[in-house]
Symmetry: D2
Subunit: 346 residues, 4 copies
């Protein structure tokens, strides 16, 4: 069985495992106050060209989204997000657990626009029922989105400007950030992206680490006591150095970018496998997630040897699916998939 | 200025004020443990033909919705409701403040259907991401709805059955219940409605009282420690007898129903005023709220002498509006409105 | 049966009832945007010599405490309060329902000191585990306290200064404020008290109103969107004018102070009844609550004709009790109590 | 510098690291639905002699405490715990973040008694203010406690019985469980302990793992949808197999117990170092944490070469401290400490 279900099927990049082994019996103090975390912070700030940023390390995405959002909003405020956003659909109400509503914006491609944000803020500001309505207190984006799509530099700039106009922070969920930055179509660099956001995170779990997300707080007003929020939400890892070691390794010699680029190469091959075999795509994703639409018989046939995700029913005989590549995807596995898909067409 | 903005413009029915005056200097113990509350509970249970129900008195609607919903749901569950539902749009995130998501169902007339509820429950039960998704833990309806519409006996029965099938409680917000029950088109009696619900409330604030909502808990499983929940949510009135006196008065000699019927009579006149003058209606409401669509110049002209609510923009030159009748609406004021509308058409 | 159990046994002062009757069928818009609330706000600001204060009206004490505290604290902060404080012991976890810990300070007389507050703040600021500990984010006092005791001007000034030193707001719960201000031993005026606090409230429920608490926000930084918080916590009364009418009446011709003084007079008689009969007092209260310690046989004998509260067991044969006077306590009832107590001693 | 500050200074036991390396590039599905987690569950159930238990893996202690407690309590309930309990003092209000009060019980040795629990439950059940008070909904213990102390079999049995009498679940925090079970004075086996609890966890972070806590749910009533709660609280690790691999290794060939015993051996040497040098102990701990009281000059001298924790000020010239041993503590480091302490006495 070969799995393309998601981008967290394997452990960590061997360079990380090697470093974890080498340092295993060293003694360091806890809670990310160790030298490895310090070094990782410096490398990430350098990569972002953001010397004044605060960098924090958490274990997973839901925890990170919850902690960041709860640290920003006033109680009666909510977070604007695409209706398809991870925080709205796949976190079992983690945002609501902190008292906040996810204010959803309709989307077809997983992205939201500056105009939609502006309209929402304008509508509330001019509503007679202002005091009875949840106030947009921040914006949540993911890049890439749940559908694998990307914001352009112009789009993200426009969103950033509208957020500053309404004085609401912009938070970018970068669980798959490497796969966005290294996409062929990306016109955004990491420093550019960083400076357009108030806070964002660089995903490790899906990009080479055993686990870990690096939160980068750009806006000074959001920095105060963030570690207290982390502890409160169970996001302060005792052996914090595990996160430091991983991120230091990822941000040494551009490893994060190199392995992300590998995933894009594999994903583009997967895309080509299906497109050249005549299968349509549910979303036009330039990143590591690919969404071919399969007829039921091909779906069933492929499932015998390959793991992939059912995404949604398209019509009575077809389903949208998701195949993910990652830093760990092998050419051998992609070749096996190509053969299997080509065999379907014979 | 004559106001039709809402159904809480005046104080209370004179019979209530008289009783409050008569009892003013009596001493009673607090927190609704007094004889007036006891008597009111008995009269409400008799009116509902529900001798085993628990009846509790709270001050207002948002407080009541929050307390009931938070008392029912497990932490990771949400409440299914129409997207237009009061809890979703006009309570400043009160439900979310208790950690719960409002799971919205699209609607055009303010109502949701048994089939929509069934589909939502079915979809989750069969989703591979079951553990990552907020679980529907109950259903919230309002009757009348935010758009003045009503559930038929068949519709409410079907909803009740689907709730029991999925073992999720059905909660009916009756902030305007009298105006629903006394509508010409209603085919539901109070006892029928009571026995289809697990919990519901009988609105006093909008139907003759200074304030107050009477929660009726039909389902034994929902009764435990509800008063603790009330206290926790600031819903335990110190001088609870004020609520008892009001509801006892409303449920003596059918006052609640008589004054509700008066509001319907007034509302039907308001409806006729606009319809016979050729104005279309935004919603087809058989209850105390009426929603004529006015061209901008008529809107402006009427606003000089009459208070009413802007509801939503319909097109570039028209707005939907809301005119409410209530127990307190006078024939004189309705006549004045008729004259003014007719004058517009000359 | 004559009740001294609490200070919310009767309805409202007759002047309030009269005004409610007179205005009953007037039409006003909802949610305290009416002229009565406007007038009440002006009178309260004048009484406080605080022209820039914001004044809001809520229905009850638990709701008010919760709304104020939740509007001030950051998520990881708690509220410093006496261990005996109402928010810590008698609100069914309402503060915790908003995510905040009550950080308790030991007390024997219901009061806390500036030094205790200072020590708590200092200890945290110097603790290696700073990020793991709930941070004191504000101070909660009640005046009078749960034990009927009062802060002196010097004590409250010292507390105010230490709060400003640590930059944490001072919130004073004035559910019984009138009974504190009119006590013989009080050396604080309302304007003095107001200017020492960041936010406080003037209790109506226990001092002449049917219900209602007037929150006065002195500190500009705490004013933003307080009404949104009120709505979220179910504290926005639909017929807000009921609160405005009551507080306008209470703050006309010094009614609030006159009726509070009456309660003190009655309470001092009650105190004298017990003290002169040789009963010790559990707390030395100069306000409307009195706490005689009764032997079991006297407790039982008095309970036949009088309602009063068991407070706590003192030893094997004695209990501390609470007798409350209020604006509504009659000389006749106090005289009956005197006779009964004196009869016990014969 | 040699550190004895805590029991999470190093990485993981080499057997765990070896297994993580060997399996690193295997593909497994996420969220602990993999074969390693399945195997670990079976081994833990066998070790507990609890074939019907549910076993779940989370990353850290605060997250685990929060998730378990929030999954059990009704909104208006709190958790009874020692005032010194970790959830009360060192989790930045994580329990309160879920709406629940920590109901503290005074303690001098970190333990609470069956009688204290019984008194708390009895007092509430008989309080006139029942509805105004946070209800004890469960009991939280840690074993070993924060002070390194242990419950005897008799003590834990009595606590278990009183919990069952009042129908409130018993939750045992076993962050250092191995160090408790392997203490010389322990008269409790793991299966005995398991069957006295409704839910408990076996700590990995402090006992040989990189991270991880294994929750064992014994009581069927607490099993429902626990994974939904985990996800909601950010406690569902994407690469769940990392937890499975670690716990499977720890529960193979008694590794968990063997390495725990090593820590006890080292701790008893540390204890002897101080006791035989004449230093008193702050707490009489038979487990891996030792609490010598040091005069200021010795404190300062030892701090030059050794890391250890300041615990609390004892008098003007002495401080209580904490020295921890763990699975990773070396004889060499303990010997160095002995030499240093003996040198102080010369």
């Amino acid at each position: 069985m070969i799995y393309f279900n998601c981008d967290y099927l394997e452990g960590a990049h061997p360079a990380i495992m090697k470093k974890l082994m080498e340092t295993n019996l060293e003694q360091t103090i806890g809670y990310s106050a160790d030298p490895y975390c310090a070094a990782a912070r410096e490398k990430i700030k350098a990569a972002c060209q953001a010397p004044d940023a605060d960098v924090h390390f958490l274990v997973g995405g839901t925890q990170t989204n919850t902690t960041v959002i709860a640290s920003i909003l006033r109680p009666y405020q909510g977070v604007l997000a695409a209706a398809s956003g991870h925080i709205n659909v796949h976190e079992t109400g983690a945002i609501e657990s902190t008292g906040h509503k996810v204010l959803t914006i309709p989307t077809t491609d997983g992205k939201i626009t500056a105009q939609q944000i502006d309209e929402n803020c304008y509508a509330l500001a001019h509503d007679d029922n202002y005091e009875h309505i949840v106030q947009p207190g921040m914006v949540y984006l993911s890049h890439p989105t749940e559908y694998g799509t990307l914001y352009t530099k112009d789009e993200l700039t426009a969103i950033s400007e509208v957020c500053r106009k309404w004085q609401i922070p912009l938070f970018l969920d970068g669980a798959r950030l490497g796969y966005g930055l290294m996409s062929d179509v990306s016109d955004l660099t990491l420093p550019e992206l960083a400076h357009l956001c108030d806070v964002f995170y660089i995903g490790g779990t899906k990009v080479g680490a055993l686990f870990g997300e690096a939160v980068v707080i750009m806006n000074d007003a959001l920095k105060r006591d963030f570690r207290n929020m982390m502890k409160r939400h169970g996001g302060m890892l005792a052996k914090g150095r595990l996160l430091g070691i991983q991120f230091e390794t990822l941000f040494t010699d551009d490893l994060y970018f190199t392995i992300s680029r590998h995933a894009i190469d594999m994903a583009m091959q997967i895309r080509d496998i299906f497109v050249s075999a005549g299968y349509p795509l549910l979303f036009d994703s330039p990143t590591n997630q690919q969404y071919p639409i399969l007829p039921d018989e091909d779906f069933a046939a492929l499932r015998k040897d390959f793991g992939f995700e059912f995404w949604e029913r398209v019509d009575e005989t077809h389903s949208g699916t998701r195949f993910c590549a990652s830093w760990a995807t092998t050419q051998e596995n992609v070749d096996a998939l190509r053969q299997a898909v080509q065999a379907l067409k014979k």
